[in-house]
Amino acid sequence: MASTGALVLSLAACGSSGGGTGNNASGSSWILGTTETVTAMDPAGSYDFGSWNLQYNIFQQLMVVPAGETQPAPDAAQSCDYDNPKQITCKLRPGLEFSNGDKLTSSDVKFSFERNIAIADPNGSSVLLGSITDSSNPDKPKLADGAIETPDDTTVIFHLNKPDTTFMKVLTSATSSIVDEDVFPADKELPDAKVIGSGPYKLAQYKAGEQAVLEANPKYQGDRKAKTDRVFVQYFSDPAPLKAAIDSGQIDIAWRTLSPTDLNDLEGNSDVNVLKGQGSEFRYWVWQLGTKVGKQKAIRQAAAYIIDRDAIAKNAYDGTVKPTYSIVPPGFAGQKDSFKEKYGATPDVAKAKQLLKQAGIKTPIKIRLGYTPTHYGPNTVDEANELKSELNGSGLFQATTDDAEWERYQTLYKQNAYDLFILGWYPDFLDADNYLTPFIRDGGFYGNNYSNPKVNALLDKELGETDSAKRDKIIEQLQDIVADDVPLIPSWNGQNVAVAGKDIQGVEQTLDPTYIFRFWMISKKG
């Protein structure tokens, strides 16, 4: 036993460059730790945070959303404008190159979109490109004829198949990344380690599930110049080692996902900063209008009177989330706290009681709440229990909770297994419509049987409206209708939280609702 101890000491003495605090002797690199996973580096093969984040750093898009802002700004393009609601013209910067020296021209841009749609990877995000897709043959989607026109090397013209004012924002998402047509195959994905882009960083090493190493790309042209030469991204399978790592300084930044307890504890660590920016993660309770309980508007409205969002935020999430009163999160153009206006900021049991009485509904009402225990994190069960006790505490409901693992949950909630069930949402791009169309048009992606022709008409109108003031008004109208019909009850918005060492700069600026972690803005002192 003594000999093992001596061995331990001697290893500790000579191993100072390997582990321990302050990993980086050089100062021109930093380490990010995250529990996100990477599905694919190829933009045609992914629709998740972990993948998209690397893609934003490795590739250019025509436009990008700068930190803290909501409107697109040029990146690979020097300008992109709507000629009319069905046509966008972009002019590329001259002389762009990929990190391997290949020239970036309009044909690369067209190629990128074309292959993304054709490959149609089940894990991919080509569904966002609906406005330029020809899906007449569902087995073989392809770029609609004439959808992308490239009259010369630096001009790209998009012809959309319907008026779509959100498409400009789609151009800023990682699905629109520009890839090198000489390197990427047109019909399948490129192995992760081989990706080539024109963004501020290039991929120097990728060990799947372990780490990715990015190095500054000297050939990058644009406004997003990298501040640090080398970035290590380490992937953690569990939050516990992630917390230990940031707590002891073995990594410089921890982003997604630490528990509320961890965050509160890290606040007390003087070597790190817990930084919070505005987020756009969304939790909401969906009514299944196909059930006896769900189809009665008075019941839905009564529950909206009773829900205590502050209690949920405090008890289930230790105050790390913000209650939200609209289907559209704050910070988006056209956002309006419609639920607060209609139902008040705090619970009102008396009004709920009155409402039910007027509608002639007998209380207590038996209601089944559904949730899924792991997909959205372990605190989901706490929120469900919290809502249950609020509903039961009012005396008007008799609520029970039921859960199912994610795979079954998705089928069950469409089959009327629950009256009211919880779901989460991250936006694909920052536009109010991304919180509207997927939810309230004809049952939404979750099939809750809500369908309101007035809503559908307004959605069509806002998608085609280029005057932003007018569009905001329509969006406000939609939120009011939603607050009245209550097809769902919004619960909370997540914040975009990261923990960074005291010597790291630039992190706070990048924490915004886009959830794009902009490596190029971050640097380490010393």
């Binding site: 528990s259 509160n264 504890d265 225990p373 693992e405 079954r408």
Partner: protein
């Protein structure tokens, strides 16, 4: 039968007896908790308040002897109710495994021939499989139709243990089958069923409790591991120590020790208790280890004793 069951106890002496007793006492405490939970536990397992909410993650105090966790539950109550969950799951899985594995082993060992070979083969393949992985896959499979409940967890553990009972019982049967008294029984004209039931069964049943307790210990560890990975039992359905532990592990790094320590200790204690019982029994049931004052120098057949140790 009673004499057979009590003989291990009476045969022990010295340290072996103490170990057996210690194991029985520890296990007994948990069994008592399991049976009398509604009367012993101060609160319900999903109770979050009495007159007003319980505090969240409060350290041990007069009203909450072991403190509360981050779901507002009283930890002492969770531990006591948890004993019920653990014991239920373990009992279910061991019983089903024995009920399936033992007859199969008896039958297979006795019949021999290609049926025997086939069964041995399938069971060997199953036995070689890492138990946790099998449990994980089963937990996924059964979670859907049965929900995240005790039954799903129990069944997922069952599949792992059937091969073990099968193996031991079969090898004992194989060696016993050649014994003279069996031959004699056959000579009298006893039917196969009688031979298996009356003669072999008594022989074979001696090794089952040893394996049973060791398996029970294993089952609890596996249940906790399932809870850690997120495939266990939901907190509102029942109290399960592994789940509480997985929620608490994060907190431990923030200086909140009571949410982690007590469920962890509970697991360690119960598993230890069961293992001690198994070990104690092994000391007496296994003739090679038994210390008797009058020693008959009779080496046991290598197969049965080796297999009994293999499991430990």
């Amino acid at each position: 039968m009673l004499r057979v069951l009590l003989s291990p106890f009476r045969n022990t002496s010295g340290l072996a007896r103490w170990i057996l007793v210690a194991g029985l006492v520890i296990t007994g405490i948990f069994v008592v908790c399991a049976i009398f939970a509604p009367w012993i536990a101060p609160y319900g397992f999903a109770q979050t308040g009495e007159h007003g909410r319980f505090p969240k993650m409060a350290p041990p105090s007069a009203t909450h002897w072991l403190g509360t966790n981050d779901q507002f539950f009283d930890i002492l109550s969770r531990i006591i109710w948890g004993a019920r969950t653990e014991i239920t799951v373990v009992l279910l899985s061991v019983i089903i495994a024995v009920v399936v594995g033992m007859p199969l082993g008896l039958f297979s060992g006795f019949i021999g021939g290609w049926v025997d070979r086939l069964l041995v083969f399938v069971m060997d393949a199953l036995y070689a499989f890492p138990s946790l992985l099998l449990a994980i896959v089963f937990a996924f499979l059964l979670r859907g139709p049965l929900g995240g409940g005790t039954v799903a967890a129990a069944l997922s553990l069952t599949a792992i243990y059937i091969p073990q009972y099968f193996r031991v019982v079969r090898s004992t049967t194989v060696s016993a089958r050649e014994a003279t008294y069996v031959e004699a029984a056959r000579a009298i004209g006893a039917k196969n069923r009688t031979v298996m039931g009356r003669y072999l069964f008594g022989n074979v049943i001696q090794s089952v409790p040893v394996i049973g307790t060791l398996n029970a210990a294993d089952a609890i560890s596996t249940l906790a591991a399932l809870g850690f990975i997120g495939l266990g039992i939901q907190p509102t359905d029942a109290s399960e120590w592994g789940y509480d532990l997985s929620r608490a592990l994060d907190d431990a790094q923030s200086g909140i020790w009571w949410t982690t320590l007590f469920p962890g200790l509970a697991i360690v204690l119960l598993v230890t208790g069961l293992t001690l019982v198994g070990e104690g029994l092994n000391e007496t049931v296994n003739p090679a280890l038994r210390k008797r004052r009058i020693r008959k120098v009779r080496l046991p057949s290598r197969a049965s004793s080796a297999l009994v140790e293999e499991r430990s």
